[in-house]
Symmetry: C2
Subunit: 284 residues, 2 copies
């Protein structure tokens, strides 16, 4: 069991891992990509580095982590985080990792689906593990096309015999079992009076009882929905010690909002590591 | 009149100046030296830079500020900050600079004098401008040997005819007028029953009514005493926007305590700049 798994290898995640390692903890960093920084062509306002591109800064951070002996897996998408005895299990596209604590440094929370907002809690869910049971023997839709969708599908299939995957116009990124129906069209509307009753695509209407949303990659928003973490608009809510309302789960950087800057993300990582270290010491 | 004068050119000060400049403000950075970082031989935990010495990081920060057109005066000790109409006047060893706002990024607050603690407010003062008037026609001691002492002496001389400078065993760094008595010995004790009554040095006792402390260089502690800023132990107290209890005076980095690390100082600077910019916009 790891002491901490850091989700995200941007400035906040790597800074956190550096401090955790320096404090003597066993840490693993997992992430799918470099997030928002990958698209930044020039950073001039990060103290100590006059000018650098986002991708180069990410590269330097990974090199630095490596030189301190920190394990970073950069092509491993985290799909879900589950509570287990004594901590959490982080589920990726590759495996499952038990850990005492989790640091969410995975950038801006996404995945909230505008079309589904009206029916959230009334037929629309972001967590198959949490709500799949409510739709036993019912017709459910699963919206998504990538690894997150496939992960939710595996969970749903055991609970609901009638699952249809709606890719919302995107090509399927993952191979799924051929008996699952796939609707590759763009979704235009969710309808129903009080509760969700169906989905309309460009060409057709489908009667459904429940709709599970697994669009794009898993984000802090997804994990929040899976674990019952408090969110405020787009951001995860943390206390003064960067801890979410779930003890042992911390967050920092863009994930918790505020100034969306490298400097603040780096500091959040260092401060969160200090708090996590304290938490781990008290538990041991 | 400047928009902001930043006191200190370490990571917090320069980061703050970079952001202030980027927000379109007219900023000047003043400082005497690089503070604590000057003695650090190797930093490995600041994200994006695998390994660097404190002096080299300071140099890189100055170069970065220069490349963004920020004026930094690195050999100019700030001696005092005074409230004036519409803002503040920052007094250095070289001149006086009016400014709308001040950012204190001058490292750990020092200057509190253990020997004098017992009589603070009862004969011991850290501000000639504030308390000199209370000692008109009385015998006062001024403790110190550098530019801060000389600055306080200029103020005191106009109020108290009988000033003796105690260097506490240090050589005088500044030339002062020959009519001022100088005791170059180490101070061993301050005595008195309720109020301060005298100073004892290694060889002699001196009856005095008041003692002004101006040891070392001016620090955030000095400015706090001069302006009535709230302190807590060794640190300046600021609100969520890095503002002290004096509107228009902000502080960050080691000056406000917490994690004494480059990453946190850099973030404090960026966040304070954002708040200062907001403050300036509201005033204009």
């Amino acid at each position: 069991m790891k002491d901490t798994i850091v989700v995200g290898y941007g400035p906040c995640g790597i800074s956190c891992a550096i401090y955790l390692r320096r404090y003597g903890n066993d840490v693993l960093v997992l992430g799918k990509d470099g997030g928002a920084l990958e698209k930044v062509s020039n950073i001039e306002n990060y103290y100590g580095i006059s000018s650098i591109s986002g991708p180069d800064l990410l590269k330097q951070g990974l090199k630095q982590a490596h030189s301190l002996g920190i394990e970073v897996r950069t092509r491993e998408e985290v799909l879900s985080i589950e509570a287990i005895d004594g901590g959490f299990e982080v589920v990726t596209s590759v495996g499952r990792y038990p850990t005492r604590t989790v640091m969410l440094a995975c950038g801006t929370s996404r995945n909230q689906w505008q079309l589904g907002k009206r029916f959230e809690g009334y037929g629309v869910s972001y967590c198959a593990t949490c709500d799949g049971f409510l739709y036993r023997k019912k017709k459910v839709a699963l919206v998504g096309s990538g690894a997150l969708m496939k992960h939710e599908l595996e969970v749903l299939k055991n609970l609901c015999p009638d699952v249809t995957v709606f890719t919302d116009g995107k090509p399927l990124e993952e191979e799924i079992s051929p008996e699952v129906k796939v609707v590759p069209e763009k979704i235009t509307e969710l309808f129903g009076s009080e509760k969700l009753e169906g989905i309309r695509t460009e060409s057709q209407s489908y009667d459904i009882d429940g709709c599970f949303v697994a669009l794009g990659s898993a984000s802090a928003f997804t994990f929040a929905k899976h674990l019952g973490m408090q969110t405020e608009g787009n951001r995860l809510v943390v206390d003064d010690h960067f801890q979410t309302n779930i003890p042992g789960i911390y967050a920092g950087g863009d994930t918790i909002g505020g100034l969306l800057q490298v400097s603040k993300a780096v500091s959040d990582g260092a401060l969160a590591a200090t708090a996590i270290s304290q938490f781990l010491r008290e538990k041991k």
